[in-house]
């Protein structure tokens, strides 16, 4: 049972390049999330999805895009990479139902933009 799988684990980008962070879950969870983690700042929500075909912005969506064509996959797209997007990115999924919405996290993707 793999849980939440993120790829790549590490990536270095040049300013202005584009890339996609992949996220797949095998728990049939409806809810999926992308967070970024910066030192001393906790986790900030970038985008989330409550089901296939439905996405919504979180706290820090600028510079990112997402899609949710299937229940399993929730890729995060960076169109024009900027140094401010240097961070560790976590994908998570959960079953929903508010208080019972315990999240399962991927291992993270460390992105550096130079």
């Amino acid at each position: 049972n793999a849980g939440v799988t993120q790829t790549p684990k590490f990536r270095i980008l040049k300013i202005g390049q584009s890339m996609t962070l992949q996220c797949t879950q095998d728990m049939n969870h409806n809810y999926m999330y992308w967070y970024r983690q910066d030192p001393g700042m906790g986790l900030k929500l970038i985008y989330y999805s409550v089901g296939a075909g439905i996405t919504d912005k979180g706290e820090v969506p600028n510079g990112y895009n997402v899609s949710r064509s299937t229940t399993e996959d929730f890729p995060l797209r960076l169109e024009l990479a900027a140094p401010s997007q240097t961070s560790v990115y976590f994908c998570a999924s959960g079953p929903g139902s508010s208080g019972a919405n315990v999240l399962t996290f991927g291992a993270g993707s460390r992105l550096t933009v130079l």
Binding site: Y35, M41, G42, L43, L45, G99, N101
Partner: protein
């Protein structure tokens, strides 16, 4: 709106001594509260959760937390620290129907031999 404040950015304890990590929250509704742990270069893992049942919640690895509505607190404790407890800990709050979670800034725990 919901928010979380973790009162200590760093806690250092000796192995075998108690650990206390402090968390205060703000919520417009009856909140759900969680503690997650992150070991170095790993994803976050659930330690325990409070969802309006018993106010004293027991989690994995000997951790427990007490929900105190009057103090809007959800402090995490462990009677005896182990070297493997060295990690970063996050307090998290979720309002009623809001499926989005708010994370605290985290507390880094160091355990001295």
């Amino acid at each position: 709106a919901q928010s979380v404040t973790q009162l200590d950015s760093h806690v250092s304890v000796s192995e075998g001594t108690p650990v206390l990590l402090r968390c205060n929250y703000s919520s417009s509704y009856s909140p759900s509260l969680f503690w997650y742990v992150q070991h170095p270069n790993k994803g976050l893992q659930l330690l325990l959760k409070y969802t309006s049942a018993a106010t004293l919640v027991k989690g994995i690895n000997g951790f427990e937390a007490e929900f105190k509505k009057s103090e809007t607190s959800f402090h995490l404790t462990k009677p005896s620290a182990h070297m493997s407890d060295a990690a970063e800990y996050f307090c998290v709050v979720s309002d009623g129907d809001d499926y989005k979670l708010s994370f605290g800034a985290g507390t880094t725990v160091t355990v001295r031999a």
